[in-house]
Symmetry: C2
Subunit: 239 residues, 2 copies
Amino acid sequence: MYQLIYWPMLQGRGELVRLLLEDAGAPYDDVARRPADEGGGIDAVREHMHGEGEGAPGFAPPFLIDGELKLAQVGAVCAYLGPRHGLSPDDEAGRMRALQLQLTVVDVIGEVHDTHHPIASSLYYDEQRPEAERAARAFREQRLPTWLDYFERVLESGGGDYLLGTQACYADLGLFQLVQGLRFAFPVATERALAGAPAVVALEDRVAARPRIAAYLKSERRIPWGKDGIFRHYAELDG
Amino acid sequence: MYQLIYWPMLQGRGELVRLLLEDAGAPYDDVARRPADEGGGIDAVREHMHGEGEGAPGFAPPFLIDGELKLAQVGAVCAYLGPRHGLSPDDEAGRMRALQLQLTVVDVIGEVHDTHHPIASSLYYDEQRPEAERAARAFREQRLPTWLDYFERVLESGGGDYLLGTQACYADLGLFQLVQGLRFAFPVATERALAGAPAVVALEDRVAARPRIAAYLKSERRIPWGKDGIFRHYAELDG
């Protein structure tokens, strides 16, 4: 069974791995979500941070442990798991395209994080709120429509139901998560931007309707959106 | 022959691809560096930006074209090229580890960019200079030593001359580029932080001495450090 090690109180980048494993129906132990007296809690994450802990050094979670293998970086973890579970094309070009698209999703997630923490992750939001308001405005007005237009083009160019055509890959799950997070964090700006991206909205609906994803979203395994995650809703950053 | 499409006036993320191709001795056409009347210049990049242009849509450069394949995202491009040119382990776990490490290098490069552009890439430095000074201080004091300590641990854990042991992979070239860029952008802070990372410095020297890298660094193909790149030197951001 896989072990996934990620912050237990937020979806974050780890959710791209959780969605892949859930859609695949692959059993996994979400280690840090165990009770604290069974090895869970944030200490379970911290013991692997910044190169610490058993196995190959990784800098930040998510960490995936599969037997002897310990892997970090969400792009690498998904590139490893995707082909094992039918959520990636088999051919080399297709595998690289899936990775490219997921890395692009991860880039947008990073930009979303930086809207509320533009100066430093180590400072509180209230210590960088005026800067966050400027950063969020640029994100909403310039980047958000540009990103969504990009994914719209990818879907149009593939000509199928999913980013790479007729078969879903892990990047489709990533794009679903991104759009859901954007709706939570920036409901006004996202609604406006999605008006120009009907294929992205259709993809979002299609992923949400996949049976294992639908079951997961209703389960207690899905951590609710909240105030500690990468996607956060501050009314002053939306509009 | 490969076509590489990247900004012709700066090293940026594209340099991780150039270093891989140079170390491999692989012939490539650095398209945007051709004269403008032979298809070069920034228009050669712009025609592929944000999903435009021939081939599979990519958001931002570097773009690699190899016959029918068009690929974006530096991590995906290196994951594609590395095993073809002996700059990646052959086994799956090793390939994923090389990708993980290169994605980590790319993350640090992104943080460096954000020290001088913390609010928005679309604004000039002078429009976000006070914010840049705060962001750079946090980067110098907290992140830079933490990142270098991490790579030091990776090198120690591998027990060899390179990040993954005795054989160089493309992430070693990436780490070399990162350290060189840090020295250019933050000479004072980097010198101080590298005092605690002797294995990183040894790796930097080892990569610089690889014959094809040494020849490349002396050639006109290596774009000089400058004021437009991701790595920029502003005295007020160092210290």
